[in-house]
C-alpha cells in the first residue's frame, strides 16, 4: 500500500514519559475521523535526540519536526498539515523562526553537524518491524557476507575500515575478530556488551530500542567471520524496553530464517540468546561479563588468557559493544574505504555521545571523529544555559577525566582524549559550568568506584576508599597539607596494581582534575574555600543589606530559625545556627540571599 504521508511519533524514553501515548491515540482517532487511515501511516520510532524539546512528532515526506506537541495540537496538525498540506509553523521546532521548519531534519542546527551511521535507523524505522529494517537495506550485509565473501574477507574488510571498539578502550575490531578466528576450537561464541554502565550515557540503549535488528545482523556477521554459531547479548536489566524489543527482533529474525540453521541457504548456522545483567557495574568489564553469563558472581578474571582464546566457558569468544556492532553492516555494504574516509588518521568513522549536564540541548549526537568539543557544545548543543561560563566537559565516565575550557578546540578522537588525560569511554559527555566544583566531581566518581569495586583485589578495594576519604575531608574543609601528594601516590599504586580496568582507571577523575584544577584543590585545603560555591561545609549564606526588602519570607522558611530581623528592615543570618540548607536563597524573591565561598 502506498501512503501519502508518514507520521513518525517518537517512542523514545523521554517522549514516552511526556505523554506520547495520548498523542498517538489522538492521531489514530482523528485520522479515522477524516478517513485518512489508508493514506497516512503512523509509525512509532525511537529517540530523535531532541528529547529536550519532546514530545516530538515528525511528518514525512516534508520532514517537518513538531516539538513539544500536546494532544490538543493534533487536531491542527491533522487538519492543516495532513489534509490541506500546510505546515503548522507555530508548532514546529523553532516555530518562531519559521524558516527552519521548512527545511526538515537535516537542516536544523542540531542535526547539521551530525553524521548518522550507528544511529542511522533510530527514529526512522519502527523498531518492532523487521520489514522496515529490511526496507532500509537491512540484512543485505549479512547476505553479502555469507554469499559473496569468505570469513577472512570479512575480517580483512573490518581491519581495513579502521573501526575501533566503541565501548571503552578502542581496540581495533577487525584485529579482535582475527585473533578469535585463528583460535582452534569446535565451539566459539560471539557476545555483545549491552551493559551500558557509564552513568550518564545512553546511546546503546537508543540503538537497542531503536534498531535492534542491526545488532542481530552484525552479530551474525561476526559469527560467520570467527566461526561461531552461538551469540549472547548481555543487557542491563534496567532497560526493559530494550529487552522486549530485542526479544521481538530475535523472534522475527528466526521466523525469516535470518537466525537459525542454514542462513541464506548456506551451511552457516547462528542463534542468539539474551542474558540480563543484575546491576553490577563491573560486569561491563569483558571477563566479568563472561563470568556473569556463566551464572556466577561477576568478578573479573586475570588476562591472559584473553577471551579470544579462552572466553565464555573457556571457549574462544569475542565481545563487542552495541555501537561497535551497529557500524558493521554499513561497513560491509558501503566498503571499508568509505568508512575510513570519515574521521581522523587513527580514529575512523563517527562516535555517538550522550550530551548532558549544563547544556541547552541534551540528547544523543553522532559526530564524525575529529569534530571539536566546541562544535559539540555550541553548534550542536546550543551552549550553556543561563549565560553561565563553560568550565569543563567530562568524558569516559568513572574511568575518564575532564577536558577544560582551554582545550575546547581539540578534535575529538581516541588519541587526543587520552593525551588530555581523559578517554573516549562509551561516550558520556557531561558539560559542567562555573557552578561545578571539580573536587566535588572527583569525589562523586570515586564514590562510584568505591561502591562498584568488586573487592577482589586490595589496591582497588582499599585504595579507592582511602582516596575517597581524603577527598571527603577536603570538601569538608578538613584538608591538610600533603593531601594532594597522598592522592597522587595512591593513584599511581592503584593504577598499576589493580586486576581489572575498573581499578586501573579509577584514579583518572582525580588525576585529571588535579592536572587542570589544582588551584581549586588548594583553595579548599589552604583557604577553606570552595570557589564554585558547592561544598556545603565551606559556604556561608548571607543577606545583602541593600537588596533585602525586609519581607521576612526567608525567616519563616528557615528550618532552624537562623534568620532574624524586623519587617521592612534588612534581615540577618546567624551563621553559627545556619545549617546551610539553602531554603532562604530559594524563597527570596529579591535575590538578596547569596552564598559566599
Amino acid at each position: 500500500m502506498m501512503y501519502k504521508s508518514h507520521v513518525l511519533i517518537c517512542g523514545g524514553p523521554e517522549c514516552t514519559k511526556s505523554g506520547i501515548a495520548e498523542i498517538n491515540k489522538q492521531f489514530e482517532r482523528l485520522l479515522r475521523e477524516k478517513s485518512l487511515e489508508n493514506e497516512v501511516k503512523i509509525l512509532k520510532t525511537d529517540c530523535f535526540g531532541l528529547c529536550e524539546k519532546g514530545p516530538i512528532v515528525v511528518v514525512y515526506p516534508e520532514g517537518t519536526i513538531y516539538s513539544e506537541v500536546t494532544p490538543d495540537d493534533i487536531k491542527q496538525i491533522v487538519e492543516e498539515h495532513l489534509v490541506n498540506g500546510r505546515i503548522v509553523k507555530e508548532l514546529t521546532l523553532g516555530g518562531k523562526e519559521a524558516k527552519e521548519a521548512l527545511k526538515g531534519l537535516e537542516e536544523v542546527p542540531f542535526f547539521k553537524h551530525q553524521l548518522r551511521i550507528a544511529l542511522r535507523n533510530c527514529g526512522v524505522i519502527n523498531p518492532e518491524s523487521i520489514d522496515e529494517y529490511i526496507a532500509k537495506d537491512g540484512y543485505r550485509a549479512l547476505g553479502k557476507a555469507l554469499t559473496e565473501m569468505t570469513p577472512s574477507e570479512v575480517i580483512e574488510t573490518m581491519k581495513k575500515s579502521g573501526l575501533r571498539g566503541r565501548g571503552g578502550a578502542g581496540f581495533p575490531t577487525g584485529l579482535k575478530w582475527e585473533f578469535a578466528s585463528k583460535a582452534q576450537s569446535e565451539q566459539k561464541y560471539v557476545c555483545c556488551n549491552a551493559d551500558e554502565g557509564d552513568p550518564g550515557a545512553f546511546m546503546d540503549r537508543s540503538i537497542l530500542e531503536g534498531d535492534p535488528h542491526s545488532l542481530i545482523e552484525a552479530m551474525a556477521i561476526a559469527g560467520y567471520a570467527i566461526g561461531a554459531d552461538q551469540g549472547y547479548i548481555y543487557v542491563r536489566a534496567e532497560y526493559p524496553i530494550a529487552v522486549s524489543r530485542l526479544n521481538i527482533a530475535i523472534e522475527q529474525a528466526r521466523n525469516y530464517g535470518l537466525l537459525g540453521k542454514n542462513i541464506f541457504g548456506t551451511d552457516f548456522n547462528f542463534d542468539l540468546e539474551l542474558r540480563l545483567g543484575a546491576g553490577a557495574f563491573v560486569c561491563g568489564e569483558e571477563t566479568a561479563l563472561m563470568t556473569s553469563i556463566e551464572g556466577k558472581r561477576g568478578e573479573p578474571r586475570p588476562r591472559p588468557p584473553f577471551p579470544a582464546n579462552k572466553g565464555l566457558w573457556q571457549k574462544p569468544t569475542i565481545l563487542n559493544n552495541v555501537e561497535t556492532y551497529a557500524n558493521v553492516p554499513v561497513i560491509i555494504l558501503k566498503g571499508p574505504e568509505w568508512f575510513s574516509s570519515i574521521g581522523t588518521e587513527k580514529s575512523k568513522g563517527t562516535k555517538v555521545f550522550a550530551v548532558g549536564g549544563k547544556i541547552n540541548n541534551t540528547g544523543l549526537v553522532e559526530i564524525p571523529m575529529g569534530t571539536t568539543l566546541h562544535e559539540v557544545i555550541y553548534d550542536i548543543g546550543g551552549g550553556i544555559p543561563n549565560g553561565k561560563k563553560f568550565k569543563a566537559a567530562q568524558t569516559g565516565g568513572p574511568s575518564g577525566g575532564c577536558i577544560p575550557a582551554k582545550h575546547i578546540n581539540t578534535p575529538i578522537d581516541y588519541d587526543n582524549l587520552l593525551s588530555l588525560g581523559s578517554m573516549m569511554g562509551s561516550g558520556g559527555l557531561i558539560v559542567m559550568d562555573e557552578d561545578t566544583c571539580m573536587v566535588d566531581i572527583a569525589k562523586f566518581f570515586l564514590e562510584f568506584t568505591v561502591d562498584e569495586s568488586c573487592g577482589k583485589c586490595p589496591p582497588c578495594r582499599i585504595g579507592t576508599k582511602r582516596m575517597y576519604e581524603i577527598l571527603e575531608r577536603i570538601t569538608e574543609g578538613k584538608g591538610e597539607d600533603g593531601d594532594i601528594e597522598k592522592l597522587e601516590t595512591l593513584a599511581k599504586n592503584i593504577s598499576v596494581s589493580s586486576l581489572c580496568g575498573l581499578g586501573q582507571t579509577a584514579p583518572n577523575p582525580v588525576l585529571s582534575t588535579l592536572r587542570y584544577f589544582r588551584d581549586e584543590y588548594e583553595a579548599h585545603i589552604r583557604d577553606r574555600r570552595c570557589p564554585a560555591g558547592v561544598c556545603k561545609a565551606l559556604l556561608r549564606y548571607v543577606i545583602e543589606e541593600d537588596k533585602c526588602k525586609g519581607c521576612g519570607l526567608c525567616a519563616r522558611n528557615c528550618p532552624v530559625n537562623a534568620i532574624t530581623g524586623e519587617l521592612k528592615k534588612p534581615y540577618k543570618i546567624d551563621s553559627d545556627i545556619c545549617i546551610k540548607c539553602g531554603a532562604c536563597m530559594e524563597v527570596c524573591k529579591f535575590g538578596a540571599v547569596s552564598k559566599k565561598a
Binding site: 524514553p13 523521554e14 514519559k17 528529547c51 529536550e52 519532546g54 551500558e196 554502565g197 557509564d198 552513568p199 550518564g200 550515557a201 545512553f202 540503549r205 536489566a237 534496567e238 532497560y239 540468546e273 542474558r275 540480563l276 545483567g277 543484575a278 546491576g279 553490577a280 557495574f281 556473569s292 553469563i293 556463566e294 551464572g295 556466577k296 558472581r297 561477576g298 568478578e299 566457558w313 550522550a354 548532558g356 549536564g357 549544563k358 541534551t362 540528547g363 567530562q394 565516565g397 558520556g428 557531561i430 559542567m432 561545578t436 566531581i441 562523586f444 566518581f445 562510584f448 568488586c454 539553602g582 530559594e586
Partner: protein, 164 residues
C-alpha cells in the same frame, strides 16, 4: 510466605517457582535467569526461595547466596509498595540530584537507602536510568519524574501516600 488466608497461595507460588526452575534448567548458566524470574514472582529473594532453587538445581546454597548478594538488583529484603529510585548518575548529579535525595530522605524519615516503617516506600539510589535529558530524575515504580527541584518532593510523595 507469612500469608494468613487459606488459599495456599504460598504453595501455589512454590509451584510456579518450580516451573520457572524447570524452564531454565537445561541451559548453560541458568542460575541468574532463574533468580531474575524468582524475584519477579516474590518481589525479593528470601532464604527459603534460595533453598528451593539450590535443591532443585543442585547448586550449593552458599554459591547461590554469593550470587544474590553480589548483584545489587537482587534483594534479600522485601521492598516497599512504592519503590523510589533516585538517579545519582553523572548528568543528574551535576544538575543537583544529591539535593533531591536529601529531600526524599527527610520526607521519608530515612537515613539512607531503605524501606519506611509502614512498608509503603523504599528508597534506593541508582545510577543513570537513561533519561539524562530530564535530569534530575526519580522513578517511583514505573512513573518517571524529571527536572525536579527539592520543593517538588513533598507533593510527589503525598500523591502516593494518599493513594495508599
Amino acid at each position: 510466605m507469612g500469608c494468613k488466608c487459606e488459599n495456599n497461595c504460598a504453595d501455589q507460588k512454590v509451584q510456579e517457582l518450580i516451573e520457572i526452575i524447570d524452564k531454565h534448567k537445561g541451559k548453560k548458566g541458568a542460575l541468574i535467569p532463574v533468580l531474575h524470574d524468582a524475584q519477579n514472582l516474590y518481589g525479593y529473594l528470601p532464604l527459603q526461595v534460595q533453598k528451593i532453587i539450590s535443591e532443585r538445581m543442585n547448586i550449593p546454597l552458599a554459591e547461590i547466596y554469593g550470587v544474590v548478594t553480589f548483584y545489587t538488583q537482587f534483594s534479600l529484603n522485601q521492598k516497599g509498595k512504592y519503590q523510589i529510585r533516585v538517579c545519582l548518575g553523572t548528568a543528574c548529579y551535576v544538575k543537583g540530584s544529591g539535593k533531591i535525595y536529601e529531600e526524599l530522605k527527610k520526607e521519608l524519615k530515612l537515613s539512607g537507602d531503605g524501606t519506611t516503617e509502614d512498608g509503603l516506600f523504599s528508597l534506593e539510589s541508582c545510577r543513570c536510568i537513561g533519561a539524562c535529558g530530564l535530569a534530575p530524575v526519580i522513578m517511583i515504580n514505573d512513573d518517571v519524574y524529571g527536572e525536579l527541584v527539592p520543593a517538588d518532593v513533598p507533593d510527589i510523595i503525598k500523591k502516593y501516600r494518599d493513594r495508599k
